[in-house]
């Protein structure tokens, strides 16, 4: 259909800031975010280019009381777009803001959100790693089948991805803590 497009873009669980910037950039280019499905299909529709700030919140409790949760953002001028995997997508045009606005106004609450992501998304992910990849790896090492090296390489690649995601999250967490201690 004319005036619509879909892009595939994969962000890791700790990359919500990059995702926010990506959506803001598209809106400035005249593509308004409509929805996203897994694993990362972003649907856009043609619009007048505008500077609109996109923000993601991760709040399971908020989603349990969704009406009240969304209402608070609405009262503050933030439009709720959708939620996916515990993340909620909000947006607000810069023209309606008084100065720079974000959905969090202090580092303490930014850190709280990271903690919620950590508890809700990160630990399950980590446990999965321990249960699936590591036993698999050790099994590959002892395996003498012809395709064992292929599987070993695949497992190692997966392991590398997990470690990279873990490290990037840890790094962001550490950066915020450092800023808080200043």
């Amino acid at each position: 259909m004319k005036g619509m497009k879909t892009e595939l873009h994969i962000f890791t669980i700790a990359d919500w800031e990059k995702e926010e910037q990506y959506l803001r950039k598209r809106h400035r280019e005249g593509w308004k975010f409509v929805k996203v499905n897994l694993p990362g299909f972003y649907h856009f529709e043609r619009c007048k280019p505008e500077d609109v700030v996109y923000q993601l919140d991760y709040n399971q409790e908020g989603l349990e009381h969704k009406e009240e949760y969304v209402q608070m953002f609405k009262d503050c001028g933030w439009e709720y777009v959708q939620d996916l995997g515990g993340y909620c997508y909000f947006r607000k045009p810069v023209s309606e803001m008084q100065g720079e606005e974000e959905i969090f106004c202090d580092d303490e609450s930014r850190l709280d959100m990271m903690r919620r992501v950590f508890a809700g998304r990160y630990w399950p992910f980590f446990i999965l790693l321990m249960l699936l990849i590591l036993p698999n790896l050790s099994a590959q090492f002892q395996n003498s089948d012809a395709d064992a090296p292929v599987l070993l390489v695949l497992s190692l690649i997966l392991l590398a991805i997990y470690v990279w995601v873990a490290a990037s999250f840890g790094y962001r967490y550490w950066k915020i803590i450092k800023r808080l201690r200043k």
Binding site: Q55, D57, N59, E61, G62, H65, E67, E68, Y69, Q71, M72, F73, D75, C76, W78, Q98, E101, E102, I103, F104, C105, D106, E108, S109, D112, M113
Partner: protein
């Protein structure tokens, strides 16, 4: 008083201080945001994510309690524990202020 509550919440962020201060009267999140704007000459605007997160945390820790719901807005009120913690924080800020004035 509950020692953990004191440890976790003192010193307070500005947002938490104003939330407790405002909740000496029943109120909902957006009302508090507007009130704080008034109190601070529009210098402090608590963002909705910060407000929502703090209200849930304060409720969980027993410093405020849910009263009722009105037009999709949750109304809260401070508890006795919340009043105690707020009084302690006020004392801390008073001491800070006193020492600051002496240093001037």
């Amino acid at each position: 008083m509950d020692v953990p509550a004191r440890k976790v919440h003192i010193p307070m962020t500005e947002a938490v201080f104003y939330i407790l201060l405002c909740l000496r009267e029943e109120s909902h999140g957006y009302n508090i945001i507007r009130k704080v704007e008034e109190l601070t000459d529009h210098e402090i605007r608590i963002s909705p994510g910060t407000m929502y997160g703090n209200l849930s945390k304060l409720e969980k820790d027993g410093l405020i309690q849910f009263v009722r719901e009105e037009k999709k807005r949750r109304i809260y009120c401070i508890t006795d524990l919340g009043k105690d913690v707020l009084a302690l924080e006020m004392k801390r800020v008073e001491r800070l202020y006193r020492n600051m004035m002496e240093a001037r």
